[in-house]
Subunit: 287 residues, 2 copies
Amino acid sequence: MKTRVLSGLIMLPLLIIVIFNGWVLYAGCLAISLMACYEFFRGFRELDIKPSYPIAVCSIVALYLLGMLKELAEKDGDLATSWMGLFRAEQWTYLWIFATILACLLYLFSIEKRKIDDATVTITGVFYVGFFCYLIGELALSEMNILVWLVIITAFGTDICAYFAGVTMGKHKLCPKISPKKTWEGAIGGILGSVILSGIFGLIFAKPLLIHCLIIGFLASIVSMFGDLTASIFKRKMGIKDYGNLIPGHGGILDRFDSVLFTGPVIYFYASLIIGAAFAEGYWIEF
Amino acid sequence: MKTRVLSGLIMLPLLIIVIFNGWVLYAGCLAISLMACYEFFRGFRELDIKPSYPIAVCSIVALYLLGMLKELAEKDGDLATSWMGLFRAEQWTYLWIFATILACLLYLFSIEKRKIDDATVTITGVFYVGFFCYLIGELALSEMNILVWLVIITAFGTDICAYFAGVTMGKHKLCPKISPKKTWEGAIGGILGSVILSGIFGLIFAKPLLIHCLIIGFLASIVSMFGDLTASIFKRKMGIKDYGNLIPGHGGILDRFDSVLFTGPVIYFYASLIIGAAFAEGYWIEF
């Protein structure tokens, strides 16, 4: 119990980073991307697969740098018409994808030392861990960055409510082969909890978006569980229990953020596409 | 010899597709992406890895559809302000990356039937084969689509010139562990051949871009060889000689296009970034 409380304290900096939001959170996402990717790759050591962490670091840092320059270019017309404007916005993303894949393929050129897995896992780590987390950073820089709170609320809310619902009422196994303790009752409790918590958040902090908060609470809760199970699958295949022990009693960064990696992008796209559409149609209300 | 001549005839449709350029070539690139990805995945059967071809097909088709809609939206202002305009251009690419990675991760949920490799190789196939080839399609739709010819000329020119230079003068091995027959003399011959052929092309068809054609001939020739070697590495690890036997005497689509997959993106980025910059600065000359 004491360890758990202490670990809770370790989560405090995270809270402060989310309160600051914007660029501070963007930098926080970069740090989490890099640490989580490190843990992800370390897990593969057990399978004798050695992905390239240096390539992943370069690729992830380049992604965040590009995102930063893009944001600055949007705000500053001069920059947009200078070198950033040489490409259309999506071409920078194309270049990033190409350079990342190319680097991973060239990594195989020391053919005797490398296995194909070393490259394919590097690619997967960059996209699954690095890119998914980057989208939370993008959300933090957007006009709707208040929704970053829902990324955390839906992921942790689902987790905690599912735990208590499962412990008290759990009977029917959800997917015993992936995660033996999870039950349908827990899953339903998690979704309900996430919807209620997101609704409370909406009522207090973003009243005009209340209906969207409820929908997000529902959708993100489901993907949150998929995020959790995805991490479980990887760990099961690697034969490890936790990705790390950075946070005593909670495992590594990636154990804590496995759900966040999935709720983040879904809320980012929901905010850009659905709420952004309402904004474009003039249904926007200041809050 | 007879097989070789007949196979040459099979390459004729390709020539016609490149002559048509534009949308016809775009559709051709989609077909090649799908066929090459199929061959790539089939090669992994030898290693008992079963990537998901259906996921790859959905992802690659979605990529080309998005590219098509983006192109139409750019030409037609109405479409741009309607649903396509909900997202900024690069956000569609983000959504495509996210959906692709998510689908590959969910593929692992049949945990007993799948290995991690099944997902990571699916991801790699979509990006390496599908996405790289897609960039040639993007080039075909751009204002500088005449440069598509250089994608072919540098890739095949390097290959053929390197072969003859290697046969006649080859002494010093280039990388015996990856591809035992390749020599430094061949590589230099290939580069020279590519530069000369690109120069001739520039002189006849794109005189104002001659200097760029020569630079492209040099750069693309080098990456062309990396493309060839990358495919060799995969085949070596898979323990196969050719990806397929679609074109008798030439192997499969991917054996023929391994270099094109690398010259395509490099020329696409060169055209967008370097020549596009000259265009923006007013150094553009009609041709």
